[in-house]
């Protein structure tokens, strides 16, 4: 039954997520004693430490703490930020849309350009175009995305000041209309999204190229050509759709890269997403926030993987009738 495959994937997703949540708990409780961190708070008297311990539930047994933790997490109570004293979930909730905007834009553009490049390289295998594209993608792979981001700022925000160097909106400005606000955000989005795109471009290019090369060796490509179909149509209407299928699966494995890139790129551009939240928490040693963002990043990647599986299910008739 076709749906069974999908339900199976759903089950895997749930199990992986559960494992992450459990892992998260043990990571912070067992490996590092938060009490030690708390003790570093300036002028903390023993009574205050004890009270904080009680607040964080650290005075209970490990089992008790675990039960509390599971209950809290599943109701989205991720604790209180040590720095801002706000609920962690609130801060995360506000940050998620910005990260989605950045990551979504970057992924979309990287997929489109990367696939196009991949097809171009595969249909011109061994030529200078192919070599050039391979060299370019190897370069974007090797260059740290935050460094590229900084160079983008240097060139396009400092030397030739076309774009803003950071933030998601011009600060302190009253916008005349909703549209003006949107264009302002887009203006701020361009450089960070470019950095994100460059990060992923090489990967998607390589995957698509390899996939196309495989597809082009298949018999049906010869048959399509034999039916009199012009080559560009054979490529566009038959080879590419078949090559996109492995792209979906393999690209999904790279989603972790996206999360890492979000952290470094948002840091550079002061983009108010999960990445910047994470970065601030690193500096402040704000463990509840670190824990929370790690959880959300992991959940995001796992969810994205599942969505990719769904997309694959929708696209590939062979899976649908399994």
């Amino acid at each position: 039954m076709s749906a069974r495959w999908l339900i199976g994937k759903l089950g895997v997703m749930a199990a992986t997520l559960l494992f992450v949540i459990v892992f998260n708990f043990f990571l912070f409780r067992v490996m590092g004693d938060p009490t030690a961190q708390l003790a570093r708070l300036p002028q903390a008297t023993p009574e205050e430490i004890d009270k904080l311990k009680a607040d964080y539930g650290l005075d209970k047994s490990l089992g008790g703490q675990f039960v509390d933790y599971m209950g809290d997490t599943l109701t989205l109570d991720l604790g209180i930020s040590q720095r801002s004293r706000e609920p962690v979930w609130d801060e995360i909730k506000d940050a998620i849309p910005w990260t989605l905007l950045l990551v979504g834009t970057g992924t979309l553009i990287a997929t489109i350009i990367g696939s196009w490049m991949g097809v171009a390289a595969a249909t011109r295998r061994g030529t200078r175009t192919d070599d050039g594209l391979l060299g370019f993608s190897l370069f974007t792979y090797a260059a740290p995305e935050y460094w590229l981001g900084i160079l983008l700022i240097l060139v396009f925000a400092v030397w030739i000041p076309i774009f803003p160097a950071g933030l998601q909106m011009s600060p302190g400005v009253e916008f005349s209309s909703w549209w003006a606000e949107v264009t302002d955000v887009l203006d701020h989005l361009i450089l960070p999204a470019t950095a994100m795109t460059l990060l992923l471009l090489g990967q998607y290019f390589l995957i698509m190229r390899s996939s196309m090369v495989d597809v082009l060796t298949e018999d049906f490509v010869v048959v399509k050509r034999a039916t009199g179909l012009p080559w560009h149509r054979v490529v566009r209407s038959h080879a590419v759709p078949n090559a996109l299928l492995p792209l979906v699966t393999i690209a999904a494995i790279q989603f972790g890269l996206v999360a890492g890139g979000a952290i470094t790129i948002e840091t550079i551009f002061s983009w108010p997403g999960l990445g910047e939240l994470n970065f601030a928490a690193i500096n402040d040693k704000d463990f509840p926030v670190l824990q929370g963002t790690f959880l959300v990043f992991s959940a995001g990647v796992i969810l994205a993987n599942f969505l990719a599986d769904c997309l694959y299910f929708y696209l590939d008739p062979r899976v649908q009738s399994r």
């Binding site: 049906f220 009199g228 038959h238 008739p317």
Partner: protein
């Protein structure tokens, strides 16, 4: 009446190396020609070059002329550009591959693939017309039209092969090339597909080039057979002539490998050795290193010549009225 297909001195090279080394063929309307030989002898390459479908890296030369009935001017395939070939392919010549699993686009429904082929070459009327035509094609090959709406992987091997045949007939070509159409099938399916091809030939007056390493398969459906070895034709003639009185040692050995009902039960010995690589240069007759009858004379290149009416052989010592015991396989004569 002029021949449907005339091929003169067809050569295909991979850089320096010859894959097809001077092949001449003639095929008449409605005739079935079998192309026989081991893997790598150049049969598939020959077939692909008739439609100019060779992959990059291979270059072809030689004259290929097609004279479909009803056309005033002959089609000079060798002179056609890729765009020009787009009008010839499938409309006048089509192709059936072996192992049809990957011969059909996995993500496109089967009837859509036939539809696409038809629309490429004809200005069709309503979609109902096309639908009816597709259904008729499928029925002709013994597939219920409902199956047409499926994807390739949802059909059995035999069904897929039939669909391939239906697809090949979609634009009513004069010539169909079938490359190992039964190799991936079991014996029962094999017989059915061959029978189908034969019926279609009679009904539609199709000319057929059937490629196979299995002479037995060719014997059933073909009028004439050409045997290829190392890129050349070493013998050609009618089925009766080839089977009844083979005129080339290679053909003789190929026939010996066919199991005979009532004959001995043991596995017949395969032909020792292997065909030469395209890059290897062999002095004289290509088959000499494996030939039990080879002599010094075989160091000279044997031409393909007529040794009996409508029966040609590329062996110096043809015509052979009878086959003496040889020196065993291989190594006959000077190296």
């Amino acid at each position: 009446m002029s021949a449907l297909l005339e091929v003169g001195d067809l050569r295909v090279t991979h850089g320096e190396n010859p894959i097809v080394d001077g092949v001449d063929l003639t095929l008449n309307q409605g005739e079935a020609l079998g192309l026989a030989g081991e893997s790598g002898c150049g049969k598939t390459t020959t077939a692909l070059s008739l439609m100019k479908l060779l992959p990059d890296g291979l270059s072809q030369s030689g004259k290929i002329t097609l004279r479909p009935q009803g056309l005033e001017e002959p089609i000079n395939i060798d002179r056609r550009t890729e765009r020009g070939m787009g009008l010839v392919r499938w409309r006048h010549i089509s192709l059936v591959f072996q192992g049809a699993m990957n011969s059909l686009d996995p993500v496109q429904r089967v009837d859509a693939q036939i539809d696409e082929a038809i629309r490429l070459h004809e200005r069709v009327g309503s979609s109902k017309e096309v639908r009816a035509r597709i259904d008729e094609l499928l029925e002709t090959v013994g597939i219920t039209p409902a199956l047409g709406h499926r994807y390739a992987h949802q059909l059995s091997g035999g069904q897929r092969q039939r669909v391939m045949i239906a697809l090949a007939l979609a634009c009513r070509p004069s010539l169909v090339i079938a490359d190992e159409p039964t190799t991936a099938l079991d014996v029962v399916m094999q017989a059915q597909v061959l029978q189908l091809l034969e019926q279609l030939r009679e009904r539609l007056g199709l000319a057929l080039i059937l490629i196979s390493h299995d002479l037995g398969v060719l014997a059933e459906t073909c009028d004439r057979i050409a045997v290829m070895y190392a890129g050349r034709i070493v013998e050609s003639g009618s089925v009766e002539a080839i089977f009844g009185s083979p005129q080339h040692p290679y053909t003789k050995r190929l026939l010996e490998t066919l199991p005979v009902i009532g004959g001995s039960r043991g596995l017949s010995a395969p032909i020792a050795g292997a065909p030469p690589d395209p890059g290897e240069s062999v002095e004289g007759c290509r088959f000499r290193p494996r030939c039990p009858y080879a002599k010094d004379e075989c160091l000279k290149d044997p031409p393909l010549r007529e040794v009996a009416p409508a029966h040609a052989s590329a062996c110096h010592f043809a015509p052979w009225s009878e086959w003496p015991a040889g020196n065993g396989d291989g190594g006959g004569g000077a190296p």
